[in-house]
């Protein structure tokens, strides 16, 4: 029996005349690891909601065709009935937990199945050990970090040992380490428990190496169903925005076939003699003159800077230090990225720089207005129509004139992000723009648009500071990277040096090339490989 079967399934949300899914037919077999890809609004989330029974039972709307999950038809059974065969994890971890403590959260789905107290206790213990959250069992859920919360939500989805697990961008709010860990956990469950996985994800480079198959949706239709390598080949011809950085690196270097992951890419490069087998996976520290150890940049005097802060500290009411004596200076037009794991203090730093929060110690000074775009663009939208938020000129500048009459909550995620940016940039030109995780849940096309906009701002003299986990964005935008850890800046260096010198805080290109040539983007890596090919080809 297949884990999931869609047969000519079509669906339209209530009040919508455009189908979100069209004549969809696909099968996921038991034990398969399937990735669902596609641009924003292509139908990925709707597909997962249809497989979990939320569509149409919870959302309403019109559906035709059939969806069978573990032998159970979604026509006869709603999400509750399907919960025994399919576990579901949606995007926002905050709304994915419903109980007060981690232990109660993990027990909840088991209790709902009418299991005995002993069986519930055993199930909770097993899933907690499997996901390494046993130490969290007594903790209230409102004290957990985003990564911990997402892991607990995954635990609740898996507690009843479903044969199929459905995940909608589960890593979008996690730092690279937590995101990678989550994918590895899924791989392990897939291999050890034989759980079939259907995972919708924008950052394909994170999960493609683990996938057996990739489904690509476009405008609600299944346009590609192939193994990862074949899918990347297809994407190169039909939807370049879905190519992973490693695939783009190979394309730039004129190599084929595109690799599904770092390991495969390195093997191919080694077989072509383009990568020294002994080359380290991380870059070697660049040579320096003896006796001159590298020091973090000192804050410049306020008069020369667009923004500067000295001795910035911030403590929580509990006494825990979030920031400890930070010195920072941003020059006009400078593009800087702040990186660090979840809870490192990135968002706090940005809020203090924007004047939303008072530091415990230290001072911030700026040349002009400091604009801040926070993580959730929806928080900025308070009017009933898009054109109520900003003027017609700004709408045109940000390419939003077509949706001027729409409700801000009805436009796509990328459009919402642009609208929020238009709001914070309206009025006097800011001397500094701060952005907190601006690419969360964004597809590559929308990301490209944001990158162009940030580069334009910088060219006009506005300093840009981006707090992000997205290494590809950092490589494309920033010229300088600050690495935050334990409330301190532990690295302050040019982007190429930071991103090619690590593993978690490295782009896929840098990981493929082992940091060689400090190449971080597919374009830089492609140029490096082509140069090597030329040298090798020379007599």
């Amino acid at each position: 029996m297949s884990a999931l079967v869609f047969e000519r399934f079509s669906y339209s949300y209530p009040g919508s005349d455009r189908p979100a899914l069209r004549e969809l037919s696909l099968t996921v077999e038991p034990g398969e690891f399937v990735v669902c890809a596609g641009l924003s609004a292509s139908g990925k989330s709707t597909l997962l909601r249809a497989a979990s029974g939320l569509v149409p039972h919870f959302h309403g709307g019109e559906a035709s065709g059939s969806v069978i999950v573990g032998g159970i038809s979604t026509r006869e059974h709603g999400p509750g009935g399907l919960a025994q065969v399919a576990g579901t994890l949606l995007q926002d971890p905050e709304t994915q937990v419903v109980m007060q403590t981690v232990g109660a959260e993990l027990a909840f789905p088991l209790e709902n199945r009418g299991l005995s107290r002993a069986a519930v206790a055993r199930g909770v213990e097993e899933i907690a050990l499997t996901l390494s959250i046993a130490t969290l069992l007594e903790r209230p859920v409102d004290q957990l970090s985003g990564g911990e919360l997402q892991r607990v939500a995954l635990g609740a989805a898996l507690a009843a040992r479903p044969s199929l697990v459905l995940l909608d961008e589960p890593t979008s709010q996690l730092d690279p380490v937590s995101g990678d860990e989550l994918i590895w956990i899924l791989r392990r469950l897939n291999e050890e428990w034989g759980t079939a996985v259907l995972l919708a994800e924008h950052r394909l480079e994170r999960c493609l190496a683990h996938a057996d198959r990739v489904l690509v949706l476009s405008d609600g239709e299944l346009v590609c169903d192939a193994p990862p390598r074949e899918m990347l080949g297809w994407a190169g011809e039909h939807q370049p925005a879905l190519q992973t950085p490693a695939a783009r690196l190979f394309e730039r270097a004129g190599l084929r076939p595109p690799p599904a992951g770092v390991k495969e890419a390195r093997a191919t490069l080694q077989s072509h003699g383009l990568l020294d087998p002994a080359a380290p996976l991380t870059a070697v520290e660049p040579e320096r003159k003896p006796g001159r150890p590298r020091r973090p940049r000192r804050a410049q005097p306020a008069a020369q800077s667009a923004l500067s802060c000295r001795g910035l500290s911030f403590d929580l009411p509990s006494g825990a230090a979030v920031l400890r004596g930070l010195d920072l200076s941003l020059q006009p037009g400078e593009r800087t990225a702040v990186m660090g794991r979840n809870g490192a203090g990135k968002s706090t730093l940005l809020r203090i720089l924007a004047g939303l929060q008072e530091p415990t110690e230290g001072k911030v000074s700026s040349e002009g207005r400091v604009a801040l775009l926070m993580q959730n663009p929806g928080d900025y939208l308070i009017h009933e129509r898009v054109d109520g938020e900003v003027g017609a000129e700004a709408l045109a500048e940000f390419g939003l004139e077509d949706v001027a009459a729409s409700h801000p909550r009805d436009i796509s995620g990328g459009q919402r992000q642009r609208l929020a940016l238009a709001i914070v940039l309206s009025g006097d030109r800011p001397s500094v723009v701060l952005l907190d995780e601006p690419t969360r849940g964004m597809d590559r096309a929308a990301k490209g648009d944001l990158i162009a906009r940030l580069n334009a701002l910088s060219a006009a003299g506005t300093a840009v500071l981006v707090a992000t986990h997205d290494t590809e964005l950092v490589a494309a935008v920033a010229e300088r990277v600050l690495l935050l850890s334990g409330g301190r800046i532990v690295a302050d260096a040019p982007t190429a040096e930071v991103l090619s010198g690590g593993w978690h805080f490295a782009t896929e290109t840098a990981r493929v090339l082992g940091g060689q040539g400090q190449a971080c983007t597919p374009e830089q890596g492609g140029a490096l490989l082509r140069a090597r090919m030329t040298i090798e080809a020379a007599p």
């Binding site: 979990s52 029974g53 939320l54 039972h57 919870f58 709603g78 999400p79 509750g80 009935g81 919960a83 025994q84 576990g87 579901t88 949606l90 926002d92 905050e94 709304t95 994915q96 937990v97 419903v98 109980m99 007060q100 403590t101 109660a104 909840f108 789905p109 209790e111 709902n112 199945r113 009418g114 299991l115 005995s116 107290r117 007594e138 409102d142 609740a156 989805a157 009843a160 809020r351 924007a354 939303l356 207005r369 604009a371 801040l372 775009l373 926070m374 959730n376 929806g378 928080d379 900025y380 939208l381 308070i382 009017h383 009933e384 909550r409 709001i423 914070v424 309206s426 009025g427 006097d428």
Partner: protein, 293 residues
């Protein structure tokens, strides 16, 4: 609620008996206006909170209640013209007509304020001692929709507080700070409400996905016998309910605010008030002593 093995009797007892206990205290404050009874319920409530280690939650609730209660006292004093002890005669004041400030109206206003504070404190005690997760589990088969609503409300408080804080910060990030005046405030409220609905839908979807709607019964052998803490709190709750029924039934602690304040306060009322306090505090006191032994 923290119901670990080291917690107090009211926190260890099952949620159904704790809810009964909390509701009994709230019912007293709703049923009686007599100041002595209200003070007795207040003493019982704060005493139980202190013995259970949840006095912080109560203090927070009372801080929130006091401005509301004072406002009520002042409004009653100004608008109610009953009472014979005239303190100030304003004369004709359209559209209210003849406006007299009377001692009875002010005294009754402050009594109403005390009542509001006691009701809010008793409700805060109820919220602090009842485990919402347990309520969700126990109610889902008998009152699915009520349990779903209660679960959503409980879960949403934290989520919405964080949402509102973020949205306020986003408003301050706008160059015009979101505008000013009543219209800007209304826009903000509308936006928060729309966000709350979105969030509530997401949490409700999660409940569905975890199989909440299946309403499967737990195995028969899994029903736990009543513990010592359960029995102690149940006895106190039933005692309070019996006292309430007797008090209301025989018309004890009679109180009339107008035209003159009449509050019968004899030995019966004093005994009745003492019994309320003793019955309410018996469970936490006796339960703890039994546990220490």
């Amino acid at each position: 609620m923290n119901a670990g093995s080291n917690s107090t009797v009211l926190l260890r007892a099952r949620s159904s008996v704790c809810a009964l206990y909390g509701f009994a205290l709230v019912a007293f404050a709703l049923a009686f206006t007599h100041p002595l009874i209200l003070l007795a319920v207040a003493a019982a409530t704060f005493g139980a909170a202190r013995l259970s280690g949840v006095q912080r939650q109560l203090r927070g609730a009372v801080r929130f209640a006091i401005p509301l209660a004072l406002m009520l006292a002042v409004i009653n004093g100004i608008l109610i013209r009953d009472g014979v002890t005239v303190l100030w005669r304003f004369g004709e004041l359209p559209p209210f007509g003849q406006l007299d400030l009377t001692g009875e109206a002010f005294a009754y206003g402050f009594l109403l304020a005390l009542r509001v504070v006691v009701i809010i404190a008793a409700t805060a005690l109820l919220v602090a001692i009842v485990d919402p997760d347990d309520v969700l589990r126990r109610m889902r088969r008998s009152a699915f929709r009520s349990a779903l609503t209660a679960a959503l409300a409980t879960r949403m408080i934290g989520v919405l507080t964080r949402d509102a804080r973020r949205m306020d910060q986003a408003r301050r990030c706008r160059p015009d700070a979101g505008g000013s005046g009543r219209r800007a405030q209304l826009l903000m409220v509308g936006s928060v409400a729309a966000g709350a609905l979105d969030r509530a839908v997401d949490v409700a979807a999660t409940l569905e996905l975890r199989g909440y709607a299946t309403r499967v019964a737990p195995p028969r052998g899994d029903i736990l016998p009543y513990s010592r803490a359960d029995r102690a709190v149940l006895a106190a709750a039933l005692g309070l309910i019996a006292l309430l029924c007797v008090g209301v039934g025989v018309g004890l602690a009679h109180f009339e605010p107008y035209p003159r304040i009449t509050a019968i306060t004899g030995a019966t009322e004093l005994l009745y008030a003492a019994l309320i306090v003793l019955t309410a505090l018996a469970a936490p006191l006796i339960g703890e002593r039994g546990r220490r032994r």
